[in-house]
């Protein structure tokens, strides 16, 4: 029977109250939202916080709002809300692609985007999505609010730049014209972590060239999750199968996967190559079909 070590529990009534509770109880307190990463770790006694600050009642952190050139998503937005949101899929189909593969429907009813990002698991899908979409994160602390780019959120596996007295409150994705995105993942079965996964976001120029691109890989040991040489090879070029193949080849070279029960190193490099090609092809295809349907 897996039971967490004893702890004290407090339910926050507002964001300020949550910050006050964190300040009061110090470094051995942890915020709990969906609980589907923290509770399993507590049950295995990998984590033993002295206080849990429950933020599930903070409905002000559940929003999914289009605001000018940004889509603003509250840290407490559940996976199921992101999966089912028409405004999200309209701007960022990569999010629905990824959400369909995250855990299972029951876990998605509880788990939150903020929790996923703050868990900082190297095999976590939404982290790659946020790298690819060049997300900005809003973090609140006792001295107010600060905004950090996604590349500064994770300091390493399971470690973030959110300080013990701070809370991640909002994820912001920039909305760009003539752009689309895609994510694809190979998993052994429903609910498994990725054997490997890839995401891409592209912006096409007036002549159909790839004006801007971001390519990210999940669970293959890529530093910062972003395939920079693949991006450089693609940027400014006309989309073509040869171009996707070159981006895939570079991604397979640049990643650093470890062989484990999910697959050998060679298999994971093969996936990095193939999945990079697929997400570029899909993302470019989506921009073109959007342009067609608007024309």
């Amino acid at each position: 029977m897996q039971i967490p070590a004893a702890f004290e529990y407090a339910r926050a009534e507002s964001l300020d109250h949550a910050l006050q509770l964190l300040a009061e109880h110090g470094e051995e307190s942890r915020v709990i939202a969906g609980g589907h990463s923290l509770l399993p770790m507590m049950k295995l006694r990998i984590a033993s916080p002295e206080w849990l600050i429950d933020i599930n009642d903070l409905s002000e952190l559940e929003h999914i709002t289009e605001d000018g050139d940004w889509l603003r998503v509250g840290a407490l937005a559940r996976h199921v809300s992101l999966l089912e949101s028409d405004v999200v899929v309209g701007h960022f189909p990569i999010v629905r692609d990824a959400e369909k593969t995250i855990a299972d429907p029951l876990v998605r009813n509880r788990g939150t985007i903020g929790g996923s990002l703050c868990q900082a698991d190297p095999a976590e899908d939404l982290s790659t999505v946020c790298h690819v979409l060049r997300a900005e994160l809003v973090i609140r602390g006792p001295n107010g609010e600060r905004t950090v780019p996604m590349k500064e959120l994770h300091r390493g596996p399971y470690e973030t730049s959110v300080e013990p007295n701070e809370i991640l409150t909002e994820i912001r994705w920039p909305i760009r014209a003539r752009s689309s995105s895609a994510y694809t993942k190979v998993e052994r079965r429903v609910g498994d972590w990725a054997t490997a996964a890839a995401g891409a976001s592209v912006t096409l120029g007036a002549q159909g060239q790839i004006e801007d691109v971001a390519i990210g890989l999940t669970a293959v040991g890529l530093d910062g999750s972003t395939a920079t040489r693949s991006q450089d090879a693609v940027r400014g070029q006309q989309p073509s199968e040869d171009l996707y193949a070159e981006a895939g080849r570079l991604a397979a070279e640049d990643c650093n996967p470890m062989g484990d029960q999910r697959g050998t190193e060679a298999y994971k490099r093969h996936l990095a190559d193939e999945l990079t090609r697929r997400v570029l092809r899909t993302a470019v295809g989506r921009v073109m079909s959007n342009a067609g349907s608007r024309g």
């Binding site: 029977m1 897996q2 039971i3 967490p4 070590a5 004893a6 702890f7 004290e8 529990y9 339910r11 709990i32 609980g35 589907h36 509770l39 399993p40 507590m42 049950k43 849990l52 429950d54 599930n56 855990a103 299972d104 429907p105 029951l106 876990v107 009813n109 509880r110 429903v190 609910g191």
Partner: protein, 175 residues
């Protein structure tokens, strides 16, 4: 600490330790052992209950987190002496063998049909994809849920055979 929640329509208040999981609260404190306890790791879905109408894995929710919420377990599916159409469907279509996954499967089915009364087979399979059955191979579970979708008022509703895609030798099923 003191917690209060609604369980199958009744308000219950108990004093519990913060670390008690909802599954153990339901089984050991309230004696509602219809909620089964399986893998303990939020993989198998045996412990599924409805929290505010949504299926959740009760091994990964603290009882204190459920305080103030509405919980429905398999004991709350039947109404008076009348089985829920989902329960009826599991009888009619042989949706269980050992019965271990059945309470969770039925609650997920109830939540699905409340949201989408006429789901496709693909939607049904997706809805139960977080729950494991080691007996039936899922085919009869899917048919059971389809039976419930086709009989929203349960067995009391008169159905013509033509309107009932799931009707084969149901008259021979004995329970």
């Amino acid at each position: 600490m003191q917690i209060t929640m609604t369980v199958n329509g009744d308000s219950v208040s108990r004093e519990v330790e913060a670390r008690v999981l909802l599954v153990h609260f339901l089984r050991d404190v309230l004696g509602l052992t219809g909620t089964h306890w399986g893998c303990d790791t939020s993989n198998c879905g045996l412990c599924t209950v409805l929290m505010d109408g949504q299926p959740v894995k009760s091994c990964t929710v603290l009882a204190v987190m459920a305080s103030g919420h509405d919980i429905r377990t398999v004991e709350g599916l039947a109404s008076g002496g009348t089985l829920d159409p989902v329960q009826q469907g599991f009888m009619e279509e042989h949706g269980l063998q050992c019965g271990f996954c059945t309470p969770g499967m039925m609650l997920t089915a109830r939540a699905l049909l409340d949201k989408n009364p006429d789901p496709s087979e693909e939607v049904i399979r997706e809805a139960i994809s977080g729950q494991i059955c080691r007996c039936t191979g899922y085919a009869t579970i899917v048919r059971s849920i389809q039976w419930a979708a086709a009989h929203p008022a349960g067995s009391s509703q008169a159905e013509t055979p033509a309107a009932d895609p799931a009707s084969t030798d149901t008259a021979e099923v004995s329970v």
